[in-house]
Symmetry: none
Subunit: 223 residues, 4 copies
């Protein structure tokens, strides 16, 4: 108590920019709004430092709340992390269902898929979520499983039959894509990772790369 001044010193990392303590908040934020603020702060901190190095102290500061408040909304650090990821992934699941149109030409399907990816993932904070899943997934099997079941498997289930039919109809030169639809989004991952790692040294025009990717997938079959 008497030490307040001294103890308050403590070097404040860059992530503490948003700190706003000292101000008696206690404003009438709805529980949902407060939960969302914590999730948003968590996204920043987790994607900025990685799960292990992120500090709940910084999450709290960034969310404009006290550290203990986090525990009113989430059981612990791990739960906060996983729920944050899920909260970012869930809204896109509906979008995926919109792709489920049986009689669409393969090319149109792939175009839509890449378009959704660029606009809903690459251009948003979701690209950080994808990076977090790729980085932390091995330590959070539940999360990897969730992402596989809810996103990957679902997309594959939609895409595979359509590509298969396209192969049978001769719309595709071979069955490569039908057998490995993962190839469709591979450049998307490269885009996300390149952006996080190498953009400072050599920028990459990811949307243009995605279009080039499309040109390759449907080469010579008219644009």
């Amino acid at each position: 108590m008497a030490l307040r001044g001294a103890r308050a010193v403590r070097k404040v990392g860059a992530s503490a920019v948003a700190a706003r303590d000292g101000a008696r908040r206690r404003r009438a934020a709805s529980p949902q709004a407060r939960r969302d603020a914590i999730l948003a702060a968590a996204l920043d901190e987790f994607s900025g430092r990685g799960y292990a190095a992120a500090r709940l102290d910084d999450v709290a500061k960034r969310a404009g709340i006290a550290k203990g408040t986090i525990y009113l909304y989430f059981a612990d650090k791990e739960a906060l992390f996983q729920e944050m990821v899920r909260s970012m992934v869930n809204p896109i699941l509906g979008t995926l269902e919109a792709l489920r149109e049986v009689d669409i030409p393969a090319r149109m399907l792939v175009e839509r898929l890449l378009d959704v990816f660029v606009r809903e993932v690459y251009a948003t904070r979701r690209k950080d979520i994808v990076r977090l899943i790729l980085s932390e997934g091995p330590r959070f099997p539940a999360l990897a499983q969730f992402y596989h079941a809810e996103v990957i498997a679902r997309v594959l289930a939609i895409v595979r039959p359509i590509l298969q039919r396209a192969v049978e109809r001769g719309e595709l030169p071979n069955d490569a894509l039908a057998r490995f639809p993962q190839l469709i989004v591979a450049p998307g991952l490269v885009g996300i990772l390149w952006h996080a790692l190498f953009d400072a040294f050599e920028p990459l025009d990811v949307p243009a790369m995605m279009r080039a990717h499309l040109d390759i997938l449907f080469a010579g079959r008219g644009t």
Copy 2:
């Protein structure tokens, strides 16, 4: 599991000798051998837990040495990490140079590239290095820069002119690959990440996917 057991009290008494089980013999290992043992142990621990969660204690145990010994070879945890990555990346740089053959058909170049990737990266511990760079790179800009400069930029420099020439000669249906050679290895990354994240739920035959990828890149142009 064996590592977990360490959570019990580290008995300080005479029984501590037995704690060094699994350790290499106490023979007078050459400094180089000892350094290599530390690097090998570091690779295991870092790729198993991630940088932040890896414990130098475990690295030491795995290397069969005392914790303090690590500091005789490396300045600190971060230096160990970075030097470990570099030590894994360096040996492949020579292999890359071998690709520098001016007058090679584009397809053959790409085939060799993918082959090198599968055999020298995907089938080895280097796949873990790639994962570590992708995961930890944002926190280690020096490492990202190193990897970009020594591997990425180098490969691009080799590949781009050859693809460019192939385009000019009409060997490729469009210039997509020449403009974004990143597309060549994109499936490789997917392979590595899928293997680490989703193989338990849905296995993926990565070599087969790479061949399928090749089929797409050079579709209709004969196998």
Copy 3:
């Protein structure tokens, strides 16, 4: 168990209403009734976990009120604890006065005392109060003093002259009991503590032990 479950996130939303299960109805309980409910809940929690480990949160849940309400009735955790003890001790003080009958034979006095102990203390929640005083007393000198002044000293003041007179009249073989009347209740404490600690391993028939104790105190002097 039910309390343990609380460790999960305290859901903040609408579902919080259901969290008040087991709680008394929301009728306009009189302040006295509410105070009593808190005291009863406090007894349960304090005697179950000890002072330091008891959580006011759990006291509130058990009393069917909100945590903050406790502070409308008690200054803080310590005050709640001390007042709870006092509220349990006070009712027995009258009973003690009933012992103050000047011309009673020593044996009858002791019999009554032990009988009161067994029926009013050992057979009731007051045994937990005694345990709490014994356990926490050193950290709550005010409580120890209160208990000594209100119970111990009072009983001693009643008992001593009667035993003294019995010695003088030759009704007792020696003055041991007159000098140390504490010996009368010593087995009572053993009964309480044994019950709390060792009953699971070796049950003890405390009332029978108290009768045996009486046989010893007045050995050979007829039942």
Copy 4:
């Protein structure tokens, strides 16, 4: 580091008297000596504050070591507590065996028992151990079981047959003590608890009380 001065302030409780930080210790204390120092400090802190309220920080200061050092010798706070209790109880187990003399008169046995109690328990730190077991036992069933099995049951096993024989030989006026040998030590517990709770208000001559107890147990049968 830069905060050293400021951080060092922090109100220092009475229990920190033995603190000696600042002085580069690292002297050649044997592991056993250091372990013992921790156990001694733990005894002080636990018996002074109770298990829950004792701070490992204070234990460390009192032992003249850093906080983390405790964890080199004990798995966690609970292990420290339990091992401390066991380390205090174990040395007396041999003494108990010395009581195992088959053909000893009942009175002599009881005298020895009470004598051991006064000299080995009441007059030593072991009285605090007994208090801790009585206070914390319900929260540490393993400890209660250990104490019951190693001390209580053992003493009972020694004492009961001898008392039984004494009853058969007519050396005792009744079988009360043979059936409830707990009555022998009951005053001992009262002595310990009184000392901790009420000595400040009304001192109690415990050794004298034990002798008076003996007078009662063997009343009229000669001193």
